[in-house]
Amino acid sequence: MSENRPEIKKKNKKQPISDRRRFILNMARGAGIATIGGFMWSAYIDEVTASELVLRPPGALKEDDFLKTCIKCGLCVEACPYDTLLLAKPGDNKPLGTPYFIPRDVPCYMCPDIPCVPVCPTGALDEASVTTDGVLDINISDMGVAVVDDESCIAFWGIQCDACYRACPILGTAITIEYEKNTRTGKHAFMKPIVHADACTGCGMCEHACVTEKPAIFVLPRENATGEAGSYYIKGWDKEDEKRLEDAGEIKTVTEISKESAMDSLNGSLEDLY
């Protein structure tokens, strides 16, 4: 058998490759190259869509759904009368072509007719999420949450500043001023701005108005600005909060011992003593 081999090899070299072999090899080559390209492509997309700190226009779907639904047409950008909205361009390090805004430069001015939302052709900006009783309501929009850095906020130093409070379009609800005694001097008062996350829309007018060099109050996407207690804790003596646990499931751990009831398990093991 082994003597025949060289002959076969020679023969193969001269003979043209059969159509079937050519087809199979070409398909394999295509599939192989597609795999290389596919993984590189996927890796790139995974990276560019991982950008978390992006503030979206009002009514935007949750980021995951937003990224698959936004067609990147820029109609919301064109509809915005204040040039607040931008489309991410190469070099912005944001998911390419999607709308966002930088409140320190231009905040959302919370137009009552929300022109950016109804123009969206794909529903990536969801009209229903900014509608109360059939009327557009910008006050329930959720672009993010303002966060105060009390180290750099000069109101926390005792200097009287309420720039953010005055700038807030729903002042008194989303931001309140709380008075507190200044124990450092013993004679003065702090007038601290407090953000109420449930009312804050994340428009960023406070960030835009903040007088410090780098804003001491700034907007983060709600996902990044909030924690979550989970179902292990409830507020004591609060009937409303207890309702949260109505649907909470039971976590049951099954081990070798817990197959039987605890009592049987304890009694059963006594047999070993005798």
Binding site: A34, D46, K68, I71, K72, C73, T122
Partner: protein, 276 residues
């Protein structure tokens, strides 16, 4: 002058169309015009008629997005429009990349780069269909519109309307690729949007028709054609160019001095072929 017009009339109209569309889109963002708002991914014509990229919508569908009614209407309008005028008419009459790749191709011919490259075109024109398929698979797996995040077409088009950023790099890459690496590289081999419109264009109404009896075999048409393989019948048979890969750019029609190529409606062309 007459000769110049005869030989470049469609090219002139194409450039005019491409640039006018860009100006109208730009005006919508810069000065609030409402003739043509949005961009090539999704537009609003005169503030009423929606038009959306069917390929983008297909990726959205694969990614698991809920397609809105507005989007579906826009996709319908765009699909009907390109079924009428030829699928890849998008490529040669609308797409801004066309000007870049045409420039590269022109320079390639003038510099005679093909004579330096001894290897035959090393890549298959079917790559675009592989990329098309791959984009849908990745959209499905990753849950985002895969091609829309890397598309140099929308990068450039968006860039012109909304600010370019580093989008100029995408333009340069495509120009250099077509000039030095692969002739008709981007538009003729890789672009999945072109691939998508090729498939759509198979069924489109307006086609170029070849009359073999007029042909003098000068091969000027094959010289200028960005998709030479569609002109296989030149000088051999009177046939309409039915391949969807033809971009209806009409360069072949205007460089032909013998009236051997002209636009025709698909059915008429087929009838003429079979003898009424």
């Amino acid at each position: 002058m007459q000769k110049l017009w005869d030989n470049y009339r469609y090219l002139f109209f194409r450039r005019f169309t491409q640039i006018s569309l860009l100006v109208l889109y730009f005006g919508a963002n810069a000065w609030g015009w409402n003739v043509l708002m949005g961009n090539l991914s999704s537009s609003l014509i005169l503030g009423v008629i929606p038009m959306s990229d069917p390929y983008a919508a297909l990726q959205m569908l694969m990614a698991g997005a809920v397609l809105s009614i507005d989007l579906l209407i826009g996709v319908g309008v765009a699909t009907l429009f390109y079924l009428l005028i030829g699928g890849r008419a998008f490529c040669s009459w609308v797409c801004p990349i066309n000007m870049i790749t045409d420039a590269a191709n022109y320079l390639r011919r003038k510099l005679e780069i093909d004579r330096v490259q001894t290897v035959k075109q090393p890549a298959s024109r079917n790559i675009r269909y592989w990329v098309l398929g791959l984009s849908l698979v990745i959209s499905f797996i990753m849950g985002v519109t895969a091609f829309e995040f890397i598309s140099p077409i929308s990068m450039v088009h968006r860039g012109i309307i909304f600010g370019i950023g580093f989008g100029w790099a995408a333009m340069l890459i495509i120009f250099l690729f077509d000039l030095f690496v692969l002739k008709n590289g981007w538009c003729g081999h890789i672009c999945p949007l072109g691939g998508f419109y090729s498939l759509l264009g198979k069924f489109s109404l307006i086609k170029v028709h070849h009359s073999e009896e007029n042909c003098t075999l000068c091969m000027k048409c094959k010289d200028v054609c960005p998709e030479k393989q569609v002109l296989y019948m030149i000088g051999k048979k009177s046939l309409p160019i039915l391949s969807g890969e033809c971009t209806n750019c009409a360069r072949c029609i205007e460089v032909c001095d013998d009236d051997a190529l002209r636009f025709s409606i698909r059915e008429l062309a087929l009838k003429r072929k079979t003898g009424e």
